[in-house]
């Protein structure tokens, strides 16, 4: 079940994209999601696609991964696309049945929506596949830092994020273990009607919560024993380093945005 999930996993590598500063990648990915809404004609979409495919190529990761990333969302995408096609009114009408109208504009809109989804998924998949979760939290902490001026507890948020990320695989393992133990005691997960399925979750959830509480307590004790007193006055072991290629990427995003603004109709 969880084995199929590619999205959000890191694949070690040493490509151009892997070596980029996580801040550059994070800002780039967010920036991309914003500017994709500028695109509104064929030329702009082709431009964006070329840009994303170049990034995929540079990441040196097999395109299979990106397609796998789209798969879990394919029904949502198709649903939206079909709604767009059926309910967009336009001047060139190809087919009409009651309130359902298929027009050229509708079809075009559908295709654009589809591309928008796929491009956003590709771009965020590049980010997660090439960036270690911990580097990502470092980047988030750095980018949130200005908010500390308005009393946002940036250090605490970053700490929680990195602990949470660290424990995702541990908790997944734990879940699997408890599931197996309860299966061996005669529970069938994912079988029967909705009520039975909900009931089967209880013997999984309670032990998971209990062990999380225990783990939290142990972790807090261990952290205190090692002298953790909060964010004030701490130094950093992992230093982020912004080099010229990161600036280059930002410039590339800038040029892309400018091109989109010029080419959109």
């Amino acid at each position: 079940m969880m084995e199929k999930l590619i999205f959000g996993r890191y694949i070690p590598g040493d490509s151009f994209i892997h070596r980029l500063d996580p801040r550059a990648k994070l800002m780039g990915a967010i920036w991309f999601i914003i500017i994709i809404f500028l695109a509104n004609n064929w030329l702009t979409y082709v431009l964006l696609t070329v840009f994303v495919l170049t990034a995929v190529k540079l990441s040196e990761i097999s395109p299979k991964f990106f397609i796998n990333g789209v798969k879990p969302l394919i029904w949502l995408i198709l649903f939206t696309v079909i709604l767009q096609i059926l309910f967009t009114s336009g001047s060139t009408i190809w087919f009409r049945l009651g309130p359902i109208v298929i027009s050229q504009e509708g079809l075009l809109n559908g295709v654009f929506i589809f591309m928008r989804f796929v491009l956003i998924i590709f771009m965020s998949t590049i980010l997660t596949l090439t960036t270690m979760p911990l580097s990502l939290t470092d980047a988030i902490e750095y980018l949130l830092r200005p908010l500390a001026a308005v009393k946002v507890p940036v250090h605490e948020i970053a700490l929680m994020l990195s602990i949470a990320l660290r424990f995702v695989p541990t908790l997944m393992d734990e879940t699997e273990k408890i599931m197996n133990a309860q299966r061996a005691r005669g529970i069938d997960f994912g079988e029967g009607n909705v009520y039975q399925q909900m009931k089967a979750i209880v013997p999984l959830l309670i032990p998971l919560f209990v062990s999380s509480f225990n783990r939290a307590e142990e972790l807090a004790t261990a952290m205190e024993a090692r002298g953790y007193k909060g964010g004030e006055g701490r130094t950093k072991y992992r230093q982020l380093e912004w080099v010229s290629r990161d600036t280059m990427i930002m410039v590339a995003f800038g040029l892309l945005s400018a091109a989109l603004l010029v080419l959109r109709t």
């Binding site: 084995e3 199929k4 590619i6 996993r9 694949i11 097999s62 991964f65 734990e174 273990k177 408890i178 197996n180 133990a181 309860q182 299966r183 061996a184 005691r185 005669g186 529970i187 069938d188 209880v202 013997p203 309670i206 032990p207 209990v210 062990s211």
Partner: protein
């Protein structure tokens, strides 16, 4: 009930870039009413083998025969429940599986899933508590108020309540004190002796293997390297250490005596009692010669 592995292989996450082969070409038989120990270095595939014993995992190649059921990669999930009743597994740190409000209810949980009524389940719990070294006063207590060792006992009782024919133990004594360790292992041994239970023990404790097991399987890198009676396998101390495994303390001591005094132990002593008896005989005959 015999359990037989034929050419079993298992690959995690096949078809993804994260795929890894955990088992390959495993052939082994766990005979009815035997006490089998599975040993191996960390990551040798012990736990994966264990999950095949009651079809929690299905082999990606080859087949596992459990009693009269054959499990292959294509077997359906239907009807596995009756299989799981026959093969009870005590997982590592089983105290993590407790969830009910009271100890009694938690032990009764398994039997209830297999069709017993609440009362029958509780009755069974009451019978089992003394067996695992707790008394009836525990019935109404919350499992989360107990000590680690007591929780472990409750969890084990929860598996025993299924009345399995085969009992699979994954390091049942890890993290227990020496006293608790011995008590729990002795309890399993009594069950094996008195009720004719088939026991499969996965462990790093070679002393336990020597004391209790009558068959030993050595796994390394996902396949069976050797199997046989512990007495035979422990003779090859050098080979075992190349598998990153040790020998029981009795065997180590016997080997030291062999080197120092040129004694020959035959058969190889596995338990302290056997060792003491053989040493006594040898000293007696020595004393006889001296006179």
């Amino acid at each position: 009930m015999d359990i037989r592995f034929e050419e079993v292989g298992y690959t995690y996450q096949p078809g993804t870039p994260f795929q890894s082969r955990a088992l390959h070409d495993i052939n082994l038989t766990i005979k009815d009413s035997s006490f089998t120990a599975i040993v191996g270095h960390t990551g040798s595939g012990k736990s994966t083998v264990l999950q095949h014993l009651n079809a929690l995992k299905k082999p990606t190649s080859g087949q596992v025969t459990i009693g009269d059921r054959v499990i292959t990669n294509f077997s359906e999930n239907k009807g596995l429940k009756s299989l799981r009743k026959k093969v009870g597994i005590v997982f590592q740190f089983p105290e993590a599986q407790l969830f009910e409000e009271t100890v009694g209810k938690d032990i009764a949980f398994g039997p209830k899933n297999f069709g017993l009524s609440e009362e029958e389940g509780l009755e069974k719990a009451r019978e089992l508590l003394p067996l695992v070294g707790l008394d009836e006063s525990f019935m109404e207590r919350s499992p989360f108020d107990l000590s680690g060792g007591q929780m472990r006992r409750v969890a084990i009782a929860g598996v025993l309540a299924l009345e399995p024919e085969v009992l699979v133990l994954d390091e049942p004594t890890a993290g227990l004190d020496p006293q608790g360790r011995k008590e729990i292992m002795d309890m399993f041994y009594t069950l094996y002796k008195e009720q004719g239970l088939t026991v499969v023990l996965v462990t790093h404790q070679m002393d336990d293997v020597a004391t209790y097991a009558d068959h030993m399987i050595v796994l390394e890198k996902g396949t069976v390297m050797k199997e046989g009676h512990p007495r035979e396998l422990f003779k090859e101390a050098g080979w075992l250490s190349s598998m990153q495994l040790g020998v029981p303390s009795t065997v180590r001591f016997a080997h030291e005596l062999e080197e120092k005094f040129e004694w020959i132990f035959d058969p190889l002593p596995l338990t302290t009692d056997e060792l003491a008896q053989q040493m006594k005989d040898k000293l007696a005959s020595k004393a006889g010669e001296g006179l």
